[in-house]
């Protein structure tokens, strides 16, 4: 394989003479899983890792703002639910490679392209969950709220949205995890991230384990953060059991 031999060559040049022990040297040459190599090279993953965080957090944030606003609009004007779900659903089905290619004439290559595409993928998930969450608010609570003199706006912010929070945050978690995975393809649009590292030496087990592992770790950490936030803001859910 051209790529693999090339990258091995790269290491041979980078590594100072006799730096690795014989066994470690052999491990790297055989593209195996080499703890010594990882211990010594982890710094090279730091920048891509933060790039990956950026490629996740920015699209999810923009996507959340967009989808949430669309959902509030569609909640009031019910006829919008179908069209919005249709359009965001269509965006969701576009293969990422094709998406980057389609965006290239408009946004060129780079982070912007990656972010636009990744943002589009979050819309359907978040939109659907906000709508589902709002629809699941008990009718009796809404009727009582109206009967007590809450305005439509007060009802939305004080009753409907708080009660929809678990569903909304569940959507946010799915969207975040998905985006961490999809962001690994951002390198196809020259967007950087851990995907670029993965691709650079995709047959070198050590590299794949570290870059891939960091992706998984990132997804898990973000998931736990959102889950923790959810527990904090929905105390009634624990009381219910």
């Amino acid at each position: 394989m051209a790529v693999s031999s090339e990258s091995t060559l790269l290491f041979a040049q980078d590594a100072p003479e006799g730096f690795f022990g014989d066994r470690a040297d052999k491990c790297v040459r055989e593209e195996g899983f080499c703890p010594e190599w990882i211990a010594d090279n982890y710094q090279r993953y730091i920048d891509p890792f933060w790039e990956h965080v950026f490629l996740t957090v920015v699209p999810v944030t923009i996507g959340f703002i967009l989808a949430f606003s669309l959902a509030l609009l569609a909640h009031r004007h019910r006829w919008l639910i179908g069209p919005v779900a249709g359009v965001t659903g269509a965006l969701y089905t576009i293969p990422s490679v094709a998406f980057f290619f389609l965006l290239q004439p408009i946004t060129g290559l780079g982070k912007t392209t990656a972010i636009v595409a990744l943002t589009c993928y979050t819309l359907l998930i978040i939109f659907r969950n906000v709508i589902t969450g709002l629809a699941a608010v008990p009718d009796d609570a809404k009727d009582a709220g109206r009967g007590m003199g809450l305005t439509e706006r007060q009802m939305l912010w004080k009753v409907e949205l708080p009660l929809a929070l678990p569903e909304i945050l569940a959507g946010l978690r799915i969207a975040t995890t998905t985006t961490v995975g999809l962001a690994a393809l951002a390198f196809l649009a020259n967007g950087g991230g851990l995907g670029a590292e993965l691709d650079a030496q995709r047959f070198f087990k050590s590299n794949v384990v570290v870059a891939g592992g960091l992706c998984i770790l990132l997804a898990a950490v973000l998931d736990v953060i959102i889950l923790g936030f959810q527990r904090l803001v929905t105390p009634w859910q624990r009381a219910a059991t």
Partner: protein, 397 residues
């Protein structure tokens, strides 16, 4: 309760109950031939419970919801303290009207305290006033404030949630309350307890209340006045419970109140409300001649022996009156003893359970005031009271 704080007395009931008038109030839905509520006219005096009752689809809930504009009136008007509800912005109007529904509709994400605080917060009450009011309301509905305040609705039983629903509706001491089958989803034993509690509460707070139910027994128990609605939202009759049972205005009302309407009247009246038998009340040592004179004047052939405080001891036998003075020779004990405040139905049940078919009636201090017998109750059921007769004029066609 402890000494009322100034805030408590302030919260108690400084606001007057409102009068409510339906004036040809009509609701039509587009595309439907029959009106949901058809020219409904009735007046509810301040401080009374008006029950809207009828079979499903009779428009009773619709009629209630028109009051706070949850449903808009098509024709006619509804006046609250003489002012049309149509002139008020709906949200503002609703904050002044207590609202309690069968499903309760507590907000699951808010603590009990925050649920009760909903309308006070909308009206911009300060924190301290709200907090005091919450404790006061929880005590009013027989819940422990310290234990209940910070719980979530899901942590309470159905009966407790229902009480919170009522407390929340009472939060700002509204002059009018709307209650849509508020005890409908509760098991019979707890429902009865809640009804009694609520009636006791109403004695204190004296709100004007529109109470919707499909249960005629609940209507009779809760209502000062009952509006029976029939399909198409037409008022079949508007009358006091006693009148409704005595003088059903139509075949429909007669069927709706049920074949046992005579018996239902027993639940409405107390022993003090009916004419009792006069008994010969004698004491030991009294001259027999006097006792015999009393007997001649009594409705009962037996003399009732009482102690010095006029408490009943037993029924005298013939032998007791054979000498010069009355002796303590009883044929039977004075059982059952009926209290003036007993409901007739319960008193009847006591009489039927005993061997004798009559029992001495005592007042609060235990003194005999008369005798209740099956015949007396039979007479009551047969003869409409004069009050009920005059009420018949209220009957509408």
């Amino acid at each position: 309760m402890t000494e009322p704080t100034p805030a408590q007395t302030e919260g108690k009931s400084d606001r007057q109950a409102a009068t409510l008038e339906f004036r040809d109030a009509t609701k039509r839905y587009p595309g439907q031939d029959d009106a949901a509520v058809d020219h409904l006219s009735l007046e509810v005096p301040a401080g009374e419970i008006c029950v809207l009752v009828g079979p499903s689809g009779c428009g009773k809930t619709t009629a209630m919801r028109m009051v706070n504009r949850m449903i808009d009136i098509t024709d006619g008007d509804i006046l609250l303290d003489g002012k049309s509800v149509k002139d008020r912005p709906p949200a503002e109007l609703r904050r002044e009207i207590g609202y309690a529904i069968q499903q309760i509709g507590l907000f699951p994400h808010l603590t009990i305290a925050d649920n009760i605080a909903t309308v006070p917060k909308l009206l911009g009450w300060d924190k301290e006033r709200i907090s005091t009011r919450i404790d006061e309301l929880l005590e009013l509905v027989s819940l422990d404030p310290a234990d209940t305040r910070d719980r979530y609705p899901a942590q309470l039983s159905g009966g407790q949630r229902q009480r919170i629903g009522v407390a929340r509706a009472l939060a700002v001491d509204p002059p009018l309350m709307l209650m849509d089958e508020p005890f409908g989803a509760i098991d019979p034993i707890n429902r009865e307890r809640l009804q009694n509690e609520f009636l006791r509460l109403q004695q204190d707070i004296r709100k004007t209340i529109v109470f919707v139910t499909h249960d005629i027994d609940e209507a009779i128990k809760m209502g000062d006045r009952i509006a029976v609605l029939q399909k198409g939202g037409k008022l079949a009759q508007f009358a006091s419970p006693a009148d409704l049972l005595m003088y059903p205005a139509s075949k429909f009302v007669e069927d709706f109140v049920g074949a046992d309407r005579a018996l239902k009247r027993l639940a409405l009246q107390r022993v003090r409300d009916i004419d009792l038998w006069k008994a010969a009340i004698v004491r030991v040592g009294e001259p027999v001649a006097e006792a015999r004179a009393k007997l001649a004047d009594a409705d009962l052939e037996m003399a009732l022996l009482v102690d010095d405080s006029h408490r009943p001891l037993g029924w005298l036998s013939e032998a007791a009156l054979s000498g010069e003075r009355v002796e303590d020779k009883r044929r039977s004990e004075a059982e059952p003893i009926v209290e003036m405040d007993d409901i007739l139905r319960d008193a009847l049940s006591d009489l039927l359970a005993s061997d004798t078919r009559y029992g001495p009636v005592v007042d609060n201090s235990g003194k005999v005031v008369g005798v209740l017998s099956l015949e007396v109750i039979g007479g009551f059921l047969h003869e409409p009271s004069s009050e009920a007769r005059s009420g018949a004029d209220l009957v509408e066609s």
